[in-house]
Subunit: 543 residues, 2 copies
């Protein structure tokens, strides 16, 4: 019986930390060897970290990478490794497209590898490699997370495996890198398209499975006519390698991790994205302005899960417009989370600003200027605490606010990392409920859920003075931003034309703010980040 034990090492490397990444690879290679794997695969660009972006233009970076690769290769006796370093995927800024889809003949086994994007196309290299005889195709990935993607990916891989009568081993990286988070959830499928192993979500893991290659041979015999016809078009490159030292060994443990519930999956993406950003840039401690509202409550809960309560400080910065309710809720939240809380009122500083600007503003009424000043004083307080204590400021704006521009530049947008900038407000509520339910107790007080959202920058203000109801705003933003739908199309979904136009116009007018905002975790198919390139000078008005 021809049998191969394959291991997928879904590891969490750091961009640029080439030597540390090489040590990580060697460490997991040892674990794979100990688990009796014949072959271990690592994610795309595991040595450089992904995505390295413009570091790839640096000769020294490429050289360090190649040195590390040679070093890892030297130490991989007795185990086959798939660790291609750069190659064939469609990133024209950095890479040339590959023109070959090689298969490797290892003793009496035929293996192949391809990278990331390759697997997304139904007639891509996987088909070519399977037709050329590959029994196992390893596809190495750094596939950025968004909600729902893992399920889609899993269905697609099942289809590819069954279509091509090939075992598919999909290894994905894990970890946060700037605005991206990678979810792991590596899979192995057999030639029937059945999943035989799945790795953990958002954690490093070694996914191991035994593949029965004779099964594939038998399945293909039954399908030989169809395959021969296809084969005429295929011209694979065959590369022979020494045989694998296939040994008898005990059955590996079943490796079948349960998929996460959708809201928990998003929550964990936010936690890991935050933890990795903070720690990989070398910080330990974060500071968050606690308004008593739902957004800062959720961010604080995420921060505590990411870094531990001892590494999170809340700051309440009341003004005369802060209600008793929000002030009390901020304090309760801090207590429930077990975090320190500072109190720095803004009233005195606001008065000083008004005095200083009195001559310039003489005879003019108060307006949004004074509201923004309050937000900016708070931004300055948080940055001052950051400067003084070496804490990173986490900001608390959500995607609905970023989309509509309902934020103050240099005010509530001031900080290093915008944890929930890709989370629409309704999902902020869902995640906050989930915080309480996963904790099995009230972490975020019920009154925070019940109170109408308000920036509390003037008396009796609520968000809905300025914005459409959030349920409506979120649905319109999803259609307009994530799906690039036009106004008539969104109106046809049942929204008032005037509202849709107003939202579209808010999105366009506030691009300048978003461009100066901090990065944050991407959890939707299209975040306000690298995915989004709207010109600031833009006179296009939706027809």
């Amino acid at each position: 019986m021809r049998r191969i034990r394959v291991g997928l090492a879904q590891i969490n490397p750091t961009v640029g930390a080439i030597e540390a990444n090489a040590r990580l690879v060697l460490d997991w290679m040892e674990r794979a060897r100990a688990a009796g794997c014949d072959l271990v695969a690592f994610p795309e660009l595991a040595l450089t970290g992904y995505p390295p972006e413009d570091l790839l233009f640096k000769t020294a970076f490429i050289e360090a990478n190649l040195r590390a690769l040679a070093d890892v290769a030297r130490q991989s006796r007795g185990i086959k490794q798939y660790l291609p370093n750069y190659g064939v995927f469609d990133e024209n800024r950095y890479f040339q497209s590959g023109t070959e889809a090689p298969v490797f003949v290892v003793g009496d086994t035929v293996l192949a590898a391809n990278i990331c994007e390759d697997i997304w196309y139904p007639t891509g290299p996987t088909t070519l490699q399977a037709l050329a005889g590959a029994e196992l195709v390893v596809t190495i990935n750094a596939s950025p997370y968004h909600a729902g993607k893992a399920q889609f990916r899993e269905k697609m891989l099942a289809t590819r495996a069954a279509d091509d009568l090939v075992c598919l081993a999909f290894v994905n990286t894990v970890g946060g890198q700037d605005e991206l988070v990678f979810d792991g959830q590596s899979f192995i499928f057999n030639e029937k398209g059945e999943r035989i192993a799945r790795g953990r979500a958002f954690e490093e893991d070694l996914v191991v499975a035994d593949l029965d290659l004779d099964e594939i041979f038998r399945a293909r015999l039954h399908d030989s006519r169809r395959r021969k016809e296809k084969l005429r078009a295929a011209e694979p490159t065959r590369i022979s390698l020494p045989s694998l030292p296939l040994r008898e060994k005990p059955k590996p443990p079943a490796h079948e991790i349960q998929a996460l519930e959708p809201v928990e999956e998003i929550y964990q993406a936010l936690v890991l994205g935050t933890r990795d950003y903070v720690t990989k840039i070398g910080y330990k401690h974060v500071v968050i302005g606690l308004s008593g509202g739902i957004d800062s409550a959720l961010v604080a809960a995420i921060a505590v899960d990411a870094l531990g309560a001892a590494n999170v400080t809340g700051v309440t910065m009341p003004s005369p417009f802060s209600s008793l309710g929000t002030r009390r809720d901020a304090a309760r939240l801090a207590k429930n989370l077990g975090i320190d809380m500072l109190r720095v009122p803004i009233t005195g500083v606001l008065k000083a600003y008004k005095r200083a600007l009195a001559a310039a503003f003489k005879g003019l009424k108060e307006d949004v200027t004074e509201e923004n000043l309050q937000a900016r004083i708070r931004g300055n307080y948080l940055m001052a605490l950051s400067n003084k204590f070496g804490w990173l400021v986490l900001t608390t704006g959500n995607k609905s606010e970023y989309g509509a521009g309902y934020t103050t530049l240099y005010g509530d947008m001031a900080g290093g990392f915008a944890v929930i900038k890709d989370v629409p407000k309704m999902l902020v509520y869902a995640l906050s409920r989930h915080v309480n339910s996963r904790a099995g107790r009230t972490v975020i007080p019920q009154s925070v859920f019940d109170r109408a959202p308000s920036a509390e920058l003037r008396p009796d203000q609520t968000d809905q003075d300025t914005l459409p109801p959030y349920a409506e705003l979120d649905a319109i933003l999803q259609a307009y931003v994530e799906e690039d739908r036009g106004v008539p199309d969104i109106v046809a979904q049942g929204f008032a034309e005037e509202t849709v136009r107003r939202v579209a116009s808010m999105v366009a007018r506030n691009e300048y703010k978003r461009r100066q905002g901090p990065i944050g975790v991407k959890i939707t198919p299209r975040a306000f980040g690298r995915d989004w390139r709207l010109p600031i000078v833009n006179r296009f008005r939706e027809p």
Copy 2:
């Protein structure tokens, strides 16, 4: 005699303003008709404005564009137009590559057009089209400015024209769009590679020249053997069109604009980039913090040239660390420029901040926290003036500061447009001297040039307490940022290794700040903008 009069309309469209751009095209088409042109060419994506970026994903945008194109085509009786809308250039996010290089047979004349990038490759479509018989190749462009590019472009086009024995008409767009500025300077070359017309720099213009097609025929007769050999490889698409109504007409005026001196060219790029950004987003008036230093002096001078003195307000925001000299120089500069100046001291607000933070900072010494607070109070003042009066804040940081991170986020970086963010400090001095010399009088006081640069955030501070001398810093940054050279390479140029390493590390550590800064005019081959994609989480250290 076969003769054709070609016109290049280098116009200044606005991204997204499709109807207004169509009117602009029709207006210049009339001018070309009045000048007796047989053919008029417009820049790349003249109807949408360039670059439209993600607007191209919107169906309504594409539809509006196609409607405008049909409309312009309908109104172009009696004149041939080259106004391809989207096509063949290498922007994989939006466009498919073209596979054809058509030539158009118009009566007994053979014409061809191609787009932008096509002309940069020696064996690109131009050669193919010339071999297929094209006598005139029109190349339509939106070629972003950087210093020195126009001269390079001109030499390259001369070479292409002579190589291919073809007349080359290169039309470029004009104007500012977000961080890009387009310089116009369209050219027409004859088949000997001689420039027979050049358009204005940084201004709209109609460049007209008569081409003697029989000359090309004669030149090619002498070169027929070489051409026939090449022709074997060429498979052009020939498209026949109705004859041009070639008429006898008087000679056009000579159109030979002098190229600008290098420093004047950069100055005009900054002026146009600033004017177009401010006006195209719908602002009229700008506000600038005047420190008495050279950077804010230069920005103010540029703003006055871009918008007029009546549309520029200076603000002096003294602290106890502001010297008498800088305060006096700020006032003198405002007077010399003829702009209004406000005075809003920061001392009272700074005291209020210190009082408010006293409990949190108890027992700790003053440090960079208090320096940053001063910069942030100033940023808040400017933003408050912006909010209250509808003025746009121009920031004054230069490329040396952005590169080294010698800036305060939300402080001196706060504003809508960073006029000189791509101008290294030594070039700031050169441009400032040029401001005085082109004005023929002292606009920027001599003492501003003579004083050692200082942020004036603590007593007796100078930039050189923190940074290497600017002459050195600028050279190192140019090699490291614009040319992607490694440390050993830069050390080999004669710089101290310790200094080079320090600068490289500053560049990496301060990416988070740059990412939140405003956009500004690109004038070098690589600006800190769309051109620059350094990860924020980045543990790579130069070897």
